[in-house]
């Protein structure tokens, strides 16, 4: 790990230099209505670091909401396939939220599980992620409750922490090192470790107040409460839309479709999908194993806090709180976790476990 300092001014120069060198620069950008999104910037001035949480997470830069897998064309009685390239030009993310970078790391596991996803890893390889330590967005942040810190190094190639006059810089990976080496002139030696540590500690303490749960107990409760009134209660309010999944940094389910582009030709595409949609598990036979919204509400919580950790050893949640902010029905995941945690704690003392729903 190399420690450096980067002035606010030099961060801007660094971005300009990267752009000049033909590197794609992705950063939080503000639109005319004041909403922030991660977007490829054309010039350094567009950078809006340290502003609000971007509406969507970083995942779309590795798993685009729609992407072409190949192009097909039927010629007489044959089919011609044209694959898409799986290597990509250099790209850097400047000022990502640490939780969003952590999400990418979490997802690396599933994309290298039963199948090594060339498109995901092609983009991963080409991308250097620089995160900006987060002071907490609002009271719906709960990263610390799901084993992530507001300035985590997970998933980042380099972390920058706001300090007086600029940023304290820590490289995490070789990609981070390479960046510092190549653009050494913008970095000054030595960091402001103490100031950075204080920032981290304060942010962590703040987030910890939002939610405190034992994720292992939550998982244990989920394992024994496949049927529970809680799921029904959630389903009353839940509209079954996919807003939560769309903004979620870790929801990664996709649908593969063949899209016609004319006679006997088209593209096979991969599109974002969500387990909250009724049609997600609809079988061709007409049977739907998750036919009701209560099944789907359970699926989302279970996948994040039981199934994924069971398979990959990490939670499928970064505590960013986007689902809470996006939900049109007022669903609040930390509230659900708090209730499940309370029930799980109670179950430890009571021999018979009670459901938490009405």
């Amino acid at each position: 790990m190399t420690v450096k300092t980067l002035t606010t001014e030099n961060l801007s120069h660094l971005a300009a230099a990267l752009l000049a060198d033909g590197t794609e620069v992705i950063a939080p950008v503000k639109d005319s209505s004041g909403k922030v999104d991660y977007r490829a910037v054309k010039q350094a001035a567009e950078l809006a670091l340290g502003e609000a949480l971007p509406r969507k997470s970083l995942k779309e830069f590795f798993l685009p909401q729609t992407e072409c897998l190949f192009y097909f064309k039927q010629v007489k009685n044959d089919v011609e396939l044209t694959p898409v390239p799986t290597t990509f030009g250099p790209r850097i993310v400047l000022g990502a939220k640490p939780c969003d970078a952590a999400a990418v790391d979490i997802l690396d596991r599933v994309f290298d599980w039963d199948y090594h996803d060339e498109l995901w890893f092609g983009r991963r390889q080409a991308t250097t992620i620089v995160t900006l330590a987060c002071p907490m967005v609002d009271e719906f942040c709960f990263c610390t409750a799901v084993d992530i810190e507001p300035a985590t190094r997970q998933g980042a190639d380099m972390v920058i922490v706001p300090v007086a006059g600029g940023y304290h810089v820590e490289t995490v990976t070789e990609k981070g090192e390479a960046l510092v080496t190549k653009y050494a002139k913008y970095f000054s030696d030595g960091g402001k470790q103490a100031e950075a540590d204080t920032f981290r500690a304060e942010a962590k303490a703040k987030v910890e107040k939002n939610l405190g749960i034992n994720t292992k107990d939550v998982r244990a409760w989920l394992e024994t409460h496949f049927e529970d009134g809680l799921w029904h209660e959630l389903a009353w309010r839940c509209h079954g839309c996919g807003a939560c999944a769309a903004v979620c940094p870790t929801c990664h389910c996709f649908d593969i479709v063949d899209e016609s582009e004319g006679v006997n030709q088209g593209t096979r595409r991969r599109n974002w999908d969500t387990c909250q949609a009724g049609k997600f598990t609809l079988h061709a036979s007409g049977h739907n194993p998750r036919g009701e919204q209560c099944n789907r509400c359970r699926q989302r919580v279970s996948h994040k806090f039981m199934i994924y950790p069971e398979r990959f050893g990490v939670l499928l949640c970064t505590g960013c709180g986007r689902c809470v902010r996006a939900c049109p029905g007022g669903m609040v995941l930390p509230e659900v976790l708090r209730r499940v945690n309370a029930a799980a704690q109670a179950a430890k003392t009571e021999p018979v476990t009670e459901g938490v729903g009405q």
Binding site: Q74, E261, N264, Q265, G286
Partner: protein, 673 residues
């Protein structure tokens, strides 16, 4: 992989002249899913069809596209051919590369490219065609004939004699129509009443004809073989079952000066009346508008007069009779509602045009129309067959006939020829000469159209034997001058102006569609032309059918017709109906809508737009009988296949067979690539 056969027709030179048919066949041979592609001189010919049939068998085709003329021309031909080769007929489609391509483009390159694309679109469509079976529906072997003129009478008699039950509806108190008003008929000069009356009586007495006079069609629902019609029996104020037609009521009626409709205003009638002595049925009708009792009721609320009721020994007069609706199930409908005459007054029953100001709008005394002349010439008419001027009862010594009043006159809004006027004017000239010896008839004409059997000879006779003077030209104005009517005309053959001092002028007025015929046409879903004559299905090949299956036309409802034409049409329509009734069930194209019960949510947008009321509610229950949902269901007998429900259904839970979403999508998809 589908195995489609593509057959490109040269249509002799019709297509091949502008479309490189070989290239089209070659291009289609390369198209995915095409197993066989060829071209031939005349696909619709016997060898052409054999080619299609053989290819279906040899190449195991599961779809056929014939690129030739319009499917409206030969779709049935090729579907039949496909069927005889063992392929479901609905797996055959046509690409229209003649009417929509070779005939409308000159550039060979463009036309060829377009032909390739049109054919490719149909190949893509046919890949999604599904085998279908014709729909079989039972036939109600009873026919409704609307209109009791000569056409309706003929149709009713032919149908009844052929074994069908008939309901004959006439809006007037008696059947007979215009023909009963005529004196003699061209070209034989036999007496109209003499040939018509026996037929009227035959209708009345026929065991299989139910005659409903003073009645109108209120509503029509259903479809070929299964119409339900509601007939409004207008209140006659006379009980038809009790009345024996003695006429005592008529004699007792104090209101005697109502202009008679039957006599075209030249005679008078009473308030309770039969329109003419030979009326069928002979039951009187009370004209409530002119009846003292009803006028008193309207004014004071009290009944007055009541003489007819007192006079009737059968107690048949019922002043409180109401209109009532009777319902009949019928399998076919013959529309024979006839025509009306162009009026010589300023006001016309049909809007848009007015009468002739230069002829005085009917205000000049002794300027009458042809039908009035018929009444004057009729032995049973107001003058007992003597030709006398309405104004003073004198015998006219000079009489001028003007042809084409309203007809063939774009300025007055009717561009068509009324067909009968040349003939009846010649007849009038002839009758006049026979009745008024020494009288002189003049006829102003545009040209003589006498194209029937014995017709031209008839006109020649009027000129050569009966001395009618025919003047080619039009009359610019006429006016009353003392005793005479000054008629200013122009003889275009001698190029001289002509002025005639006439005693009487007869205007040969045009035949026009009945007022409000549109309302009936809409009830029957039959289209009509801009003159409101109802449209036949095909001007040459299906002249008595309409585009609504099971509805047929007879007589002047379709276009101006003379008696022989009307009778021929009536018999043709009857034959068509009898043909329809010859089987217990009939087959229909299976182009109908179908609901997917699994996805229908039951919002019933489809029900709201269906013009036929074909959408019904269906309950879906689980195995225990609990109601799950109520969804839409299409009655295949009622659905006519317009597909409006499909475009309206938000979730696309309903499909139109033969024009499914998949088929249309495939056609659109073929636009590219």
């Amino acid at each position: 992989m589908p195995r489609i056969g593509v057959f490109i027709c040269h249509c002799g030179e019709n297509i091949a002249r502008t479309v490189d048919v070989k290239r089209v066949a070659e291009a289609l041979a390369e198209h995915p899913g095409v197993a066989y592609s060829t071209d031939y001189k005349y696909m619709c010919s016997d060898p052409g069809q054999t080619l299609v049939k053989q290819a279906i068998v040899e190449h195991k085709l599961d779809g056929v596209v014939v690129a030739a003329c319009s499917p409206r021309m030969h779709e049935k031909t090729f579907r039949r051919a496909a069927s005889s080769a063992g392929l479901n007929p609905y797996l055959c489609e046509m690409a229209n590369i003649r009417e929509h391509c070779s005939w409308i483009h000159e550039d060979r390159e463009e036309a060829t490219q377009k032909a390739i694309e049109l054919t490719r679109m149909m190949v893509e469509k046919v890949k999604y065609n599904a085998p279908m079976q014709a729909i079989r529906i039972p036939v109600e072997k009873r026919a409704l004939v609307i209109g009791g003129g000569i056409a309706g009478i003929q149709a009713a008699l032919d149908l009844a004699d052929g074994g069908a039950e008939v309901v004959l509806v006439e809006k007037e108190p008696s059947i007979g129509g215009h023909m009963s008003q005529l004196s003699e008929t061209f070209p034989t000069l036999d007496c109209s009443q003499c040939i018509l009356t026996p037929r009227m009586v035959e209708v009345y007495q026929h065991p299989r004809i139910k005659l409903l006079t003073f009645s109108e069609v209120e509503n029509v629902e259903g479809y070929i073989g299964n119409f339900t019609v509601q007939i409004r029996r207008k209140a006659r104020s006379v009980d038809e079952d009790l009345c024996n037609g003695c006429g005592d009521c008529i004699a007792s009626c104090p209101v005697k000066k109502i202009p008679s409709e039957f006599e075209c205003g030249l005679g008078k009638r009473t308030a309770i009346y039969v329109p003419f002595p030979q009326a069928v049925p002979n039951t009187p009708t009370l004209d409530r508008e002119n009846c003292t009792l009803f006028k008193s009721r309207a004014k004071t609320g009290k009944d007055a007069c009541m003489r007819c009721q007192k006079a009737c020994q059968r107690g048949a007069i019922n002043y409180n009779q109401q209109d009532r609706i009777e319902e009949f199930k019928v399998g076919a409908i013959v529309v024979a509602t006839g025509f009306q005459l162009y009026k010589i007054t300023k006001e016309q029953p049909r809007p848009g045009i007015s009468g002739y100001g230069e002829y005085g709008y009917g205000t000049v005394p002794d300027v009458i129309d042809g039908l009035q002349f018929e009444r004057l010439a009729s032995a049973s008419g107001p003058t007992a067959g003597k030709i006398l001027r309405p104004s003073d009862g004198k015998e006219p010594k000079k009489i001028v006939f003007l042809q084409c009043i309203g007809s063939r006159d774009c300025a007055k809004g009717i561009e068509y020829c009324s067909k009968i006027c040349c003939m009846y004017t010649a007849k009038h000239a002839m009758l006049y000469r026979h009745k008024v010896h020494g009288g002189q008839a003049y006829v102003f004409y545009m040209d003589i159209r006498a194209n029937g059997k014995g017709y031209d000879e008839f006109v020649r006779r009027a000129i050569e034997e009966d001395g009618a003077k025919y003047l080619r030209g039009r009359v610019s104005k006429l006016y009353r001058d003392g005793e005479v009517i000054k008629v200013h005309g122009f003889d275009t053959l001698s190029s001289e102006p002509v002025v005639i001092d006439a005693d009487m002028v007869v205007l040969a007025t045009a035949m026009r569609a009945q007022p409000n015929i549109e309302a009936l046409a809409q009830k029957l879903s039959v289209s009509y032309d801009k003159h409101a004559f109802l449209n036949e299905a095909h001007p040459k090949l299906r002249p008595v059918e309409t585009n609504t299956a099971g509805v047929f036309l007879a007589g002047a409802v379709q276009a101006p017709r003379d008696i022989p034409d009307s009778v021929a049409m009536a018999s043709a329509a009857a034959a068509k109906v009898l043909d329809l009734f010859s089987a217990d069930e009939l087959e229909r194209e299976p182009t109908i809508a179908k609901v997917d019960a699994t996805i229908c949510t039951g919002c019933f947008h489809c029900e709201r737009v269906c013009p036929y009321g074909a959408v019904e509610h269906k309950e879906i229950r689980d195995r225990k009988g609990n109601l799950i949902k109520v969804i839409a269901d299409v009655n295949p007998g009622v659905c006519q296949g317009c597909g409006t429900c499909v475009a309206t259904c938000p979730s696309k839970s309903v499909e139109l067979q033969g024009f499914t979403d998949s088929q249309v999508f495939a056609e659109i998809n073929a636009l590219m690539g």
